[in-house]
Amino acid sequence: MISTAKYWVFIVLFLSLVLGYSIYNQTFTSENQNFHSQVVNLNDGYGYQIMRGEKIVIFQEFIPGFPGKQKFATEDQALKTAGLVIAKIEAGKSPVLKVSDLTDNNISTGAAH
């Protein structure tokens, strides 16, 4: 009878360990996985990076889709453009920015840079 009780204690302990481990794993992987952006100051203009948690997933030194090395003229424009990309990702769409996405949002291109 005593060893049967021992058996049940062992089983309960074992199951709670497994459960605990799986919960720990779950929180570890789902932690801080939201997309967010950071504006990058490039001296003669601005770029942005899209982050997921601590990880850079898109680094955009130049205005996406445009030829050459055109930087964003203002911090605000870089931030706004990064916001468009995040909105697309969160809507489950491709993060591609089209020329129309930028002109619709009054992002100036082909400027002095």
Binding site: F59, P67, G68, P95, V96
Partner: protein, 330 residues
């Protein structure tokens, strides 16, 4: 009471054994070498039949088809930093099934299909200035061709012209912006073949024509511009290399043919030893089975991603370690 205790121990023992067996068997059933690591913290831009090239530690990919639209956007994957950047849009009409290759640090994309016509126009991409320039068009239109850069020249051959599969090859000279026909490919006409380059020797195989998956395998020596036939892809009974729409790449002196189409998308991977002229099967691609994917390789590391399985267009990227033991958990 003793009998009950005995049952309890018996059941416990069986449970433990079942757990041990189930946790081991998943690792033991596959003896092939090669490990896959999922890099997709972020999923890129889903598309198939894309074109691209790898220059230094950056993989470039663009154009393609996403199930709704032919695409012209163009992306760079930084191998060291593990992040993407959207680069200058491809300037030609949006297309898929184009060829992409690198010659002396410059990228090239051209030919392909825009949903109506097979195309001839060709463009070069300057990675430093992030700009595209149109170059001389390929003399005959085609899609699903092969393209490779070697020894200072670009080469494009095989493919489908809208009516027929092709076997002709063309050589591009960047110095005078001209294409000249290259004779001497002894293989059959085909579309959706694969190449990889080891030590300046270009290996070509797979592809399909009139529903037949081709089994011949060739090596091109760019110094003599001659083709030599190698061991057939079905020479050994266990070989199952024939397919179309695969990716080819090189890592540390070995060539690889991975994924592709063989009456449906496949995920098998084969390794070619150029010294022995022999093939060995590796661990199959870990993500969804796929065709029309892309591989970025800098010679020592390789990443495979995008493509499609049926009508599902994929955007994930996996790194392949050909000589590592397979681990499920990464």
């Amino acid at each position: 009471m003793n009998k009950r205790k005995w049952y309890v121990y018996k059941i416990t023992g069986m449970l433990i054994m079942a757990m041990v067996i189930s946790s081991c068997s998943s690792e033991d059933e596959d003896d092939d070498l090669g490990n896959w690591v999922d890099k997709s913290v972020f999923d890129g831009s889903a598309r198939s039949s894309i074109s691209g090239f790898t220059i230094n530690n950056v993989g470039y990919m663009g154009v393609g088809y996403d199930g709704d639209d032919y695409l012209s956007s163009f992306w760079a994957y930084d191998i060291e930093g593990d992040y993407w950047s959207q680069k200058a849009d491809f300037p030609g009409v949006a297309r898929n099934a184009a060829v992409g290759f690198e010659v002396d640090g410059v990228g090239y994309i051209g030919s392909g299909y825009d949903g109506v016509d097979e195309l001839t126009d060709f463009y070069r991409y300057n990675t430093v200035s992030n700009t595209w320039t149109e170059i001389a068009p390929l003399p005959t239109a085609r899609r699903n061709a092969v393209g490779f850069g070697v020894n200072g020249f670009g080469y494009v051959g095989t493919g489908y012209d809208g009516e027929n599969d092709r076997k002709d090859f063309w050589k591009y000279n960047p110095a005078n912006d001209t294409w000249t026909e290259l004779v001497g490919f002894g293989g059959n006409k085909r579309r959706s073949a694969t190449t990889f380059t080891i030590n300046e020797q270009v290996y070509l195989g797979t592809g399909v024509s009139n529903g037949i998956y081709l089994d011949d395998f060739w090596v091109f020596d760019p110094t003599t511009e001659s083709w030599t036939k190698k061991l057939d892809l079905d020479e050994e009974d266990e070989y199952a290399i024939q397919r179309s729409n695969a990716v080819g790449f090189t890592v540390n002196g070995y060539g690889y043919i991975a994924c592709g189409e063989l009456s449906g998308a496949t995920n098998t991977v084969w390794e070619y030893d150029p010294i022995l002229d022999e093939w060995e099967q590796k661990t199959s691609f870990e993500g969804a089975t796929r065709q029309d994917a892309i591989a970025f390789s800098n010679g020592s590391r390789v990443f495979i991603g995008m493509g499609r399985t049926g009508t599902l267009y994929l955007d994930d990227l996996d790194e392949f370690f050909p000589q590592d033991e397979y681990e499920e958990e990464d």
